[in-house]
Subunit: 148 residues, 2 copies
Amino acid sequence: MIILSRLADYGVIVATHLAGIPDRQVNAAAVAAATRLPPATVAKVLKRLAHGGIVTGARGATGGYRLARAPEEISIAEVVAAIDGEIGVTQCASHVEGCDRTNFCPTRPHWAHINRAVSQALGAVTLAEMVGPDFLRPRPSSQVHASP
Amino acid sequence: MIILSRLADYGVIVATHLAGIPDRQVNAAAVAAATRLPPATVAKVLKRLAHGGIVTGARGATGGYRLARAPEEISIAEVVAAIDGEIGVTQCASHVEGCDRTNFCPTRPHWAHINRAVSQALGAVTLAEMVGPDFLRPRPSSQVHASP
DNA sequence: AGGAAAGCGTACCAACTTGGTCCGAATTTG
DNA sequence: CAAATTCGGACCAAGTTGGTACGCTTTCCT
């Protein structure tokens, strides 16, 4: 199973790319060219990111996108939430009521626990760490640049 | 966004139900009746669970399903993996190669880290803990969100 | 001031995945 | 031997998602 949708994946890639050039303001086509992603989809992703407050878009000629905050202030969870909405393990974790088998469902505390763990895992990594060359690695010995 | 698919959710519910009756061997219809889930879908879920080694199915008359292992030996991650396949944050985390923007992707170590955190969160909880009576807290009022 | 460039919003279409159903083959009990 | 019951596969419908296109607004440059 895949946790993140493809658009969310694209969103992280795009946001990471923007984090790598914090002062530049580039348009969607340039981001698409730099990330080798479909331009139309990149535009869609950037729109959602702008709507979520991750990036800010400048209109007009010589306009473009730019990160709305510092890269170390933006977590992956925010980027993902801007694309696909709030993170939830299952639908029981999202909707509060209406489950007619609530009595048969002693699993919700565990879902909440797992949900928090996932959110914490996605919220612990920031864009600055994503783009940083010396990111925090729990295992500094392993080399991860090559293909696994 | 929802992490687990609905079938995976059903699988956890079904497996938890089976964990609650470790010595009984019940058929798919009984499980569906007990869990208030669609019978056909429960049958499908049980088939995948059997294929994944979570439950064992006995054919013939008076057949039925039973947990293949002890409830404390089966984690949620296994159940989810039996339904929806191996857990991966994104497609980059699953497929080993073929990504033509590997050079533009310094994010994979972080994906691996997040992926491991998610897997650990899902792997830390077993079916025995799911069915355990100590954990169920019937408090449907407060819903905790992982606020960013 | 006008044209061009770029973002913004919406709408739309295609495709894949998912949810759900059904029937045949195998197997065990009575 | 027959009936009941299950597994295992194929099969179909529907929802969601990915992706694209178009019109509008805004801003800079000529």
